[in-house]
């Protein structure tokens, strides 16, 4: 797989706003940015309200995903270009989610909303309404999703890539530095995890570094490419950036995103936890 198969540039995006069969979708947890101005014609996907189960801690089921995409006017054959704020965290999460439900033709806007804004490209606040479709998702592809019960047995056998900041990894902070530190689960990381903060794979404008740079980064941190890899963070969205880099950009085959991440693992009773900086 090459970079062009999974990413589009902001330039490409601007030139293809009206291309039939290409649907732009902005994905965010806080959608006020979309409401204030978005890429022209882009539909809105609200991470919290559209993509999460309303009761259980899980994603919407297949029927829910079918209904959502149908209502948004996304067809099975459309090329979906995802982008969002927060350095594309939720867009990358949604990319993984689209892949989970078998939507093959999906790409990420390299640099997301940030790069688009830094480029000074146009934002538009007109309502977007696309004609409804009849979307049919596939069953979840669990080869890219890790669950709680496979984590402890994988310690030592798989690479764990912890993409949180070094201070979250070591246990000094419980959440990213822009959030108050009041979470109650224990701090630390999965024993033996590598600490490769998500931002290491990105340039400051939010675009991904080159494949060569990313490959070298993980190699330097000790990633054993002969082993499967599980990426995690606090809730699974920053680790989607790492999953994207490892699985989509570098083409490593056995890479899963653990969406339960530290909020789940760090709350389990009886599991091993390691403190301190990366070795």
């Amino acid at each position: 797989m090459s970079r062009e198969d999974v990413l589009v540039t902001t330039q490409w995006a601007e030139e293809n706003l009206d291309t039939p069969g290409v649907v732009f979708a902005e994905v965010d947890e806080d959608t006020t940015a979309y409401d204030g101005g978005h890429i022209r014609g882009a539909v809105k996907l609200d991470w919290r309200n559209d993509l999460q189960d309303k009761v259980r801690r899980d994603f919407v089921d297949k029927a829910g995903f079918d209904a959502l995409l149908s209502e948004k006017g996304i067809g099975n054959d459309d090329l979906v270009v995802l982008y969002g704020g927060n350095n594309n965290w939720f867009a990358a999460y949604a990319y993984w989610y689209f892949k989970l439900y078998g939507h093959e033709n999906v790409k990420l806007l390299d640099g997301g909303r940030k790069k688009w804004e830094l480029d000074g490209r146009e934002l538009n606040s007109e309502d977007v309404k696309r004609e409804a479709t009849t979307y049919t998702a596939k069953e979840q592809d669990l080869s890219i999703r890790a669950f709680r019960d496979e984590i402890v047995p994988a310690i030592g056998a798989s690479n764990f890539v912890d993409v949180r900041s070094p201070d979250e990894f070591s246990g000094k902070l419980l959440a990213p530095a822009h959030l108050p530190q009041e979470q109650s689960q224990v701090p630390g990381h999965i024993p033996g995890a590598l600490n490769v903060p998500w931002a290491k794979v990105a340039n400051e404008d939010g675009t991904f570094k080159t494949e060569e740079e990313i490959k070298e980064l993980y190699a330097d941190q000790g990633l054993d490419t002969a082993k499967p890899t599980i990426a995690y963070c606090r809730i699974g969205e920053r680790s989607s950036i790492a999953w994207f880099a490892l699985h989509e950009l570098l083409g490593y085959e056995d890479v899963k995103n653990y969406d339960g991440s530290w909020t789940e693992y760090g709350s389990l009773v009886g599991v091993p936890v390691e403190l301190g900086a990366a070795k």
Partner: protein
């Protein structure tokens, strides 16, 4: 329902006498030639220059981070230009930074 997300919240001004409840708060404003700059991407870098967090400045240019004692650099990116400021903090409280971009 997932736990609260990791996304940065909307930024607001930080009163100088805010009770930080023992936390280290780094806050301030991004300004340009024509006053406050909203919509700048404000990045917190640790003492080694590594990325720690990012928020988008409020329409009045405000930003706020919850950090820990140590050396920090706050760097702002905006289509009009970039700028940064550094601070070393040794304890809790509000620590102010002013960043100009042009």
């Amino acid at each position: 329902m997932a736990a609260d997300g990791c996304g940065a919240p909307a930024q607001t001004a930080t009163p100088a006498d805010l009770d930080t409840k023992g936390q280290v708060v780094l806050s301030g404003k991004v300004t340009g030639t024509d006053g406050p700059v909203g919509g700048a991407f404000v990045r917190l870098l640790d003492g080694g220059g590594d990325f720690t967090g990012e928020v988008v400045s409020s329409p009045e240019g405000d930003f706020r981070f919850y950090a820990a004692p140590g050396a920090w650099t706050v760097r702002a990116l905006h289509r009009s230009g970039n700028g940064e400021a550094s601070v070393t903090v040794d304890g809790p409280g509000v620590h102010e930074l002013a960043i100009s971009v042009a």
